[in-house]
């Protein structure tokens, strides 16, 4: 038995997806409705989550577990609000300096190992000859590509003559990496679009329950709202067409 609430959830989802997609046609009140709803929900969600977090990780440990040491850090944290005071602005610097000091210390200890030494080790250890020609090509691209791309960012010494080809090749390597990233971005955006269209079509392959939008049975009613949305879009197109014809007729009349 399909629950009407589930169907309603599906219809609301489909309608909001349509509101966002309608921007592809033109800016319109439906798009703004979805936009404002999203902003409002995000801010409300963020605030409620922060309050929940404060309750469970600040208030409850202090009141019920006797963690009075937390009060010291809470007081220091309150220093952030002195950003708004000219007289006590210096207090704002206290949490900032602790945060920066802690963050820099942690990063220096770990980032150098994970992002620098580990990666240099890999580039050195990587055998250029792989199990097949394509792997070998990949390895050459990684090892020489790394070196050439790094040379591109040497700005203190101008490489002239034949040497000027080294940073130039490095630039091509960087552009190829950006191309790969852009191609992957397109694939990612397509994935977003495909799943939204699965939702609008009421596809049984859409993960209705795992996405928290009703059930597969309720999803099979999505097409009804999709048809209503299509009718709204056609109406928008029709009214625009009528308006443009009227404007053209008025322009002709004024010209005469």
């Amino acid at each position: 038995m399909v629950n009407f609430t589930d169907i309603l959830m599906v219809w609301i989802s489909v309608f909001l997806v349509f509101c966002v997609f309608s921007y592809c046609y033109r800016e319109n009140p439906l798009f703004r409705l979805a936009e404002h709803l999203f902003v409002g929900l995000s801010v409300g969600y963020g605030i409620s989550y922060d309050l929940w977090y404060f309750k469970n990780y600040g208030y409850l440990p202090v009141v019920y577990q006797g963690r009075y040491d937390y009060l010291i850090w809470m007081l220091i944290g309150l220093g952030y609000y002195f950003f708004f005071s000219r007289r006590y602005f210096w207090l704002y610097r206290l949490p900032i300096s602790i945060g920066i000091g802690y963050g820099t210390g942690m990063a220096l200890r770990s980032v150098i190992r994970s992002d620098l030494i580990g990666q240099i080790n890999t580039t050195i250890k990587l055998s250029l000859i792989g199990v097949d020609p394509l792997t070998t090509l990949n390895r050459f691209v990684i090892v020489f590509g790394t070196m050439l791309a790094v040379v591109f960012f040497i700005f203190t010494l101008e490489l002239k003559g034949a040497l000027s080809y080294i940073p130039k090749t490095g630039r091509y390597i960087i552009l190829a990496a950006l191309g790969a990233s852009f191609g992957n971005t397109i694939m990612g955006r397509e994935s977003l679009l495909i799943q939204r269209i699965q939702l609008m079509m009421g596809s049984k392959y859409f993960p209705w329950e795992a996405a928290g939008i009703g059930t597969v049975e309720a999803g099979s009613y999505a097409w009804i709202m999709t048809l209503i949305c299509a009718a709204i879009l056609l109406y928008m197109i029709y009214t625009d067409h009528v308006k443009s014809r009227r404007a053209a007729a008025e322009a002709t009349a004024t010209g005469n």
Partner: protein, 293 residues
């Protein structure tokens, strides 16, 4: 009278949007089976879970928000896989929405799997005993702290249960006991944070990343590093395609819907290639075919 390529260059982009919509909708309405080659990145990620000895602890980090259909199918497939295997599971999230996403999946997923205590026995996995959602890791201090001792850093889990009362937390009171960390990462903070704060402390801990398409090239050097035993990832699941591959390897087709979406993805790829070729053709014909500006 304008030439065909001039008309093509000046086409209203809304026609292209409509064409893209139609090209995606047709394979969704008429689903057809399509061959799917498994990439080594996904296979390595799958193998990383498959090779874990029974009783191992796996950490799944949900570092994305609700608006990410690339990562949600990956997370469904991987969570099902780790539930099926005789493993213990911690769920965390560096994005506030992440643990909510995990909760949505946990509520509906098939919880049948092999018992970590007795890997020959099929059981229904229980919350608190086999899996715990630790919730949102809001700060670096928390990420660093839970590595060593969870009970010192957290008071409650995602559902508000007292951390001390959960049998799994009593068994593994720290992320340091984990053999594998899998992060589904839409951006920053993401798996790089775990590499910095967890991998640097424990070289035996393995990492897998579930990546959206846009971030995948950035993870590749770390994947090469991980394969060589350096700090990096031993597997990378890329976008919806990666989810489809994982679903296929898992042998539970239809679990995430990703396999069914691949025909639509191929169709729209072909369309985009044709549109890019036509656009460039029009540009060069105008430039060199007598109509240059």
């Amino acid at each position: 009278m304008s030439t065909w390529y001039e008309r093509l260059e000046n086409i209203d982009p809304r026609w292209i949007y409509l064409l893209v919509y139609i090209v995606i909708a047709i394979p969704i309405i008429i689903p057809l089976p399509s061959p799917l080659a498994i990439t080594p990145y996904t296979r390595d990620a799958f193998e990383a879970v498959e090779k874990l000895p029974p009783g191992s602890l796996v950490v799944l980090s949900f570092d994305y928000s609700g608006a990410n259909p690339e990562l949600h199918p990956q997370a469904i497939a991987v969570l099902r896989h780790v539930v099926r295997r005789p493993l213990y599971i911690y769920i965390v999230g560096m994005w506030s929405d992440g643990p909510v996403m995990a909760d949505q999946i946990w509520k509906v997923i098939d919880k049948t799997g092999y018992d970590p205590e007795d890997p020959t026995k099929l059981i229904t996995k229980e919350y608190g005993k086999h899996i715990v959602n630790l919730g949102y890791l809001a700060t670096t201090a928390l990420i660093v702290g839970v590595y060593d001792t969870i009970t010192k850093m957290m008071t409650i889990d995602f559902y508000g249960n007292s951390i001390d009362s959960l049998p799994l937390v009593k068994k593994f009171d720290g992320i340091k006991y984990a053999s594998l960390v899998i992060s589904f990462a839409a951006g920053s903070p993401g798996p790089a944070t775990y590499l910095q704060y967890w991998a640097t402390q424990n070289p035996n801990m393995k990492f897998v990343v579930g990546s959206p398409g846009v971030s995948a090239p950035g993870f590749m050097p770390y994947y090469e590093a991980g394969k060589l035993g350096e700090i990096g990832y031993v597997g990378v699941i890329i976008s919806m395609r990666g989810a489809a591959e994982y679903e296929t390897l898992l042998g539970e087709i239809g679990l995430t819907g990703a396999v069914a979406a691949l025909n639509a993805q191929s169709a729209v790829h072909y369309l985009l290639v044709v549109v890019v070729i036509l656009g460039n053709l029009g540009y060069y014909l105008r430039k060199y075919g007598g109509g240059g500006r």
